[in-house]
Symmetry: C2
Subunit: 213 residues, 2 copies
DNA sequence: CCCTCCACTCGATCGCCGTTCGACTAACTA
DNA sequence: TAGTTAGTCGAACGGCGATCGAGTGGAGGG
C-alpha cells in the first residue's frame, strides 16, 4: 500500500543509548517519572522494544546508577592516603550530587563495573596505608559518603518551603533544632565531618600498624 | 431485603491502626508489596476508606517510618557525651535494622515527632558537650548511621546468592575486594567506624572549645 | 420519636504502570 | 533464492494510586 508508513532509517537502538537517555530523563524529571513508556518515547521507539535490550526496569536503574559512578575519576597523584581518599570520596559525592535521583536508589547492590572499580581503589588505598581493620575503614568511608549524599539531597532546597517555619513554630519543643535552622554550607559540613573520620582513622592506623603509607 | 448483608460491628478504623498494620505489612513483605488495597484488605475495609484518614500513600510511609523512630529510646544516664551518643546512635541503628524496609525510604524529610525528638536530643547532647561546629558534628553522626544502615540492609543476606562467586571470578580485576569477601561482622564494623568518628570529633572538640561536657 | 447532620465507608472508575505475547520486518547467510 | 535471526512493536493483562459521588449509621436537637 502506498499509504504504508515508510520505515524510518533510524539509528539502531543500543544499550548505551538507552542508558544515556535514562540518565538524561532522570536528571530532568526525577526518578518518579522514569517510565519505560516515557523512556521509549524519548528514544523514538516503542516501550516493548526496550525489553529486548533490558530485562526489567530495574536493569535500567542499575545501569544508570553505574553510569553515575563512571563519572568519578580515580586519584592519580602519589600523595598520602588521606589525600587520595579525600579526592576519591569527594568525587564520589560530587557525582551523586550531580544526579540527585541517584541518592534515592542507593539501596541496591552496587555491582556495576564502575562502582566496583572505585570500591576496589578504596580498599587498595587503605590496604597500602596499612589498615589492619580494612573493612571497617572502607565501610566507614562509604557509609559516610552515602549517608551525607542522601541527607543533603533530602534536605537541600527545602528552605524554600515551609519546613523552616514549621520548626520555628515548634521552637519550644525543639530548641536546639530551631536555633540552628536549616540553611547549610553543605560542602564545608561534609569536609569537616570527613575530617573527623579521617583523623579518627589515622589514630587507629597508628595504633594498629605503624607502617608508613 | 432479608439477604442484605449485616453490617459487621467492626472496630472503628483509626490512624493508629492503619500505621500499625502498615508497619506489620512492611515487616512481613517489604516495601514493594505495600499497597493501599492490600493494606485495606488486612484492615478488613476498602482501599478507598484509607483515603479518608490519610491523604496519600506517602503519608502512610512517613507515618510508618516515624513509628520506627519511636522505638528508639533516649539515653538517660549522666555519663559522658560519647556514651550518650553511642547509646542513641546504636538504638537508632537497631530500630532501623529491625525494619529493614525503613532503610530504603530514608530519602525523605524526617519531620515526624519521633524523629525530631531524637534529632533534638542529638543536637542538645553535642551542644552541651561544647561543640562549636554543632551542625558538622550532628550531621557526621546521622550521615554515618544512615549510611551504614542502608549499606547493611543492601548487602546482608547476599552471601547466599551468587554475589560471592561473582566477585571471586573477577579476582584479577578486583583483588582487594575478592580477598576480603562479603561476610561481615556488621555490629563490630559499625562500632569500629563509629569509634573513628567519635575519636576525630573529640579531637576537634578539644581544639575548638575546652569546656567540659 | 423522628429528623437532620456529619463523620465515615466504599463500589466503580480513571489513567498509568511494568511486563508479556505473538506477529512482523529488515538484513544477513548459505 | 530461501532460511535464519536480531530487532521491533501493537495490543493486552493485571495491578497500581487516587478520585468521585452515593451511601450509612449513630449522636443530638426539636
Amino acid at each position: 500500500m502506498w499509504s504504508r508508513p515508510q520505515k524510518a532509517p533510524r539509528q539502531t537502538l543500543t544499550l548505551d543509548r538507552i542508558v544515556a537517555e535514562a540518565v538524561a530523563l532522570l536528571d530532568e524529571e526525577g526518578v518518579g517519572r522514569l517510565t519505560m513508556r516515557r523512556l521509549a518515547e524519548r528514544l523514538d521507539t516503542g516501550s516493548t522494544t526496550l525489553y529486548w535490550h533490558v530485562k526489567t526496569k530495574d536493569d535500567v536503574l542499575d545501569l544508570a546508577l553505574d553510569a553515575v559512578f563512571g563519572e568519578v575519576r580515580l586519584p592519580v597523584g602519589g600523595s598520602g592516603w588521606q589525600e587520595a581518599v579525600r579526592e576519591l570520596i569527594g568525587g564520589w559525592r560530587a557525582a551523586l550530587l550531580r544526579h540527585p535521583w541517584s541518592a534515592t536508589i542507593l539501596d541496591r547492590p552496587l555491582m556495576g563495573p564502575n562502582a566496583l572499580e572505585r570500591t576496589e581503589f578504596l580498599y587498595a588505598t587503605l590496604a597500602a596505608a596499612g589498615f589492619a581493620a580494612l573493612k571497617s575503614a572502607a565501610y566507614s568511608l562509604s557509609n559516610y559518603v552515602m549517608g551525607s549524599v542522601v541527607m543533603q539531597v533530602t534536605w537541600q532546597d527545602r528552605d524554600r518551603d515551609d519546613t523552616g517555619e514549621f520548626l520555628r513554630k515548634r521552637a519550644e519543643r525543639y530548641p536546639a533544632l530551631a536555633e540552628h535552622g536549616l540553611d547549610h554550607a553543605w560542602d564545608a559540613t561534609f569536609d569537616e565531618g570527613l575530617g573527623y573520620l579521617l583523623d579518627g582513622m589515622e589514630q587507629a592506623r597508628r595504633r594498629e600498624d605503624g607502617r608508613p603509607g
